[in-house]
Amino acid sequence: MEKQLALQMKGITKRFGGIVANNQVDLDVYRGEILAILGENGCGKTTLMNMISGIYFPDEGKIFVDGQEVVIRSPKDAFAHGIGMIHQHFKLVDLFTAAENIVLGVKEEGRYDLKDVNARVTEIAEKYGFHIDPKKKIYDMSVSEKQTVEIIKVLYRGADILILDEPTAVLTPQEIVRLFDVLRRMKEDGKAIIIITHKLNEVMEVSDRVAILRRGEHIATVETKDTNEAQLTEMMVGKKVDLNIDRYDPENAVPRLIVKDLNLYDQEGIHVLKDISFTANGGEILGIAGIAGSGQRELLESISGLQPLRSGEITFYNPKKNKPVSFYHKTMKRVRELAAQGAFHDGQGKPVSFDGMSNKAVWKWVQSQGVLFNEDEVVNLRDKNPMQIRALGIHLSFVPEDRLGMGLVGSMGIRDNMMLRSYRKGPAGFLDRKKPQATAEKIIQALEVSAPNTNTPVSRLSGGNVQKVLVGREIAYVPKVLMAAYPVRGLDINSSYTIYNLLNAQKERGVAVIFVGEDLDVLLALCDRIMVINSGTVTGIVDARTATKEQLGLLMTKTEPLRKEGA
């Protein structure tokens, strides 16, 4: 069958200031094919697609639709040429039904007839195998359903060139399979489909051809059947990359953080965490899998003292029995307090009392390592705010999902962001910027952060560098528990592997690492155990070495909670 050219770009160049986002890019898409655009972050994929969909205007180059040169100045122009883009972030009105959202903004002759719209939406859905109820309200919908609405919205407007920006990022494996079925059906119907992704297995599975972009340039377009993942990665990164994630067997894993029956209600009174129980071991990476918004964020925030819990216990366990007492992170007052509580004993096992001793004598005795702990340190972290947790000397690090909105201050430089964790140390009143400066320089060197200087606002750094700064800071703080929420989201392959290595290094140090991830392949390759949550309930805790993706996918949508204690 002779293939018909749908969209063609010739010599497209786009610059932002001195930065070339796209340089002389040529690209063509045929009707009845799925073209995958593959490239690392910042390689210009999205810029290129934005020029097709009318958000940017190219500095140079020409765009042809069906062989005719066109000018696309606005998304309206793009629609007029049958080009529709499905963005990563949905733009839907929550209170409207699917059909109302679909018809929103469409200028049609005649009366507004919702029944007719419903019928047409159902017709489109049936044609391509979507599952959708046109009368369902958006706020009742899952992420996958919302995506379906976005796709139908574009089809309803008559688009026959569809661009999907990372459509699988938010879906479970089962939903991805369904989406790909739909895409194949649309392809058979003669639509031209462009899919942006950085997941190689999906590219191999669904696309006919792959266009690879690197640093704004079009490297090659290859037939999917003639290539493989290793070759694609090499073209994408520009050098050979080892795609295996190292995983060491955990050494003497001991319970470090024991979470029991956590219950959390949010401000609207919605039950967001339901009876969550698990144990995170030191020297182990515990993965947390689940559909976005299942309570992952709230769980980590609860542990770090940012959420007022309804019930439950979070126990930090620090084995200390018969270890010498030191003044590290403890004041003289605290040592005396602990002694009065009977926390210490001497070499013979007799309880230690500092009554009537001068500070100097106590200091000498403790320094000589003659005072030992009586009990392991067991601290309930519940109802303690982050500052109190830190005051106890518990090293709990947290890399939040919202890097610039929560983990860092965007308008401050790397140095001042380092201070967030440590600025209270030192004499009262004035800030000490020397130590944070040293930490900042150390992180820039060790993690190869590219930043002009330590004063450049971090919001100006690229996503990968921002994340390196944040993770670097949390690790610089020598944690005993390290929690990371989606630490590689939006990062390119190299940066992602840097982060995996950092997590592995922490695990080797004996840190209890909790890793909330979205890419199941990565979770399975990196973690020791994986806990799956759905709508705030733990639906399973599995061994990552034996579990499969399908198993995780099922647990992600399962509704009944895990009954077994522990695991």
């Binding site: 500095d59 000018v71 003292g305 401050m412 209270r424 004035f430």
Partner: protein, 378 residues
Amino acid sequence: MTAKHTPAVKEPLVHLSKRSSIHPLHAWAIRLIAVVLGLAVCGLVAFLLIEKIQEKPEKIWDFYNAFIKGSFSTPRKIWKFLKSLSILLGIALALTPAFRMRFWNIGAEGQTLMGVLGAIAVDFYLGGKMPEWLLLILMLLAALFCGALWAVIPALFKAKWNTNETLFTLMMNYIATFLVAFFLEVWVTNGSGALPKMKTGKLPVVGGNDYLLIILVVLFLAIALFIYLNYTKHGYEISVVGESERTARYVGISVRKVIIRTMILSGLLCGLTGYLIGAGLDQSITTNSVGGQGFTAIMVSWLAKFNPLMMIFTAALIQMLSQGAAQISQDLNVSGALPSVITGIILFFIIGCEFFINYELHFRGHGQRGKAEKEGVK
């Protein structure tokens, strides 16, 4: 769904892009150009208007001449300029800690007026009954207390119930005004409504000039506040809370505590400025003792990007504008509305130029040029 489109491929004439970064000097240069352009347009507008009114062509230079004369013609005028500048700067400085925290305190007018009221009330009831130095200290304490009280009330409500601070602080202004009216009613029994200038509670004259002490105090405040905001732990906490409350909570900063503490500071500084007005200048009070400076100060603080040292210059600019414009309407014998027109034009330029600091324009045909911006990493 086919479209009627023009086949000719044409790039839009001008398109915008957000700057990834701008050198601070470049930004200040743009602002300076804006002020110069603003003054030029003012001259032109005034020239056209005055010519129409007087039917006598004035040399455009007269306009600028009068403008400068407003603030700098005689030593007395210069001192008066510096005094007014100091009061304006004092209030602007007081607002700055709150603004850095993104707490939009527009109640400086009321907070300062309460400072004046506190000082004058002490003077009224205790004046002459104790040594002058003790009276001055008590007046200061009363002024600080009243200013801080007026600022901390909205802060408490904000911290506790997340009320809107803008409305709240605005409303507190009216309460302060009418509180002053009430006390005037009580204190002034002859029905004139004007409190005669008091003989006690006057700040000492330093260096032979009535205003020098005030100027020095405010100058010291500017430097101290600059250090407080940039080099202390409190200042750092203010920046973090202002930038992102979630980040502040994430690291365990008590947002409530910082809001309340910072607003107390803001109120204390307003109270101090009120004291300078009450004990240093007026020795009396009217409902208009602050004279709208509390609102003008908002602009001073904003224009300086909340930098206390820059505020010295923006306060000077605003003060020059108002005095210069007044002089113009007097010298050139034009309507009293002209000063407002001139001030409006200049502010339009100053605020409008922020657009060119945030965005860059690209003209058609110059697309390829693209200056390399070394700082841009994104």
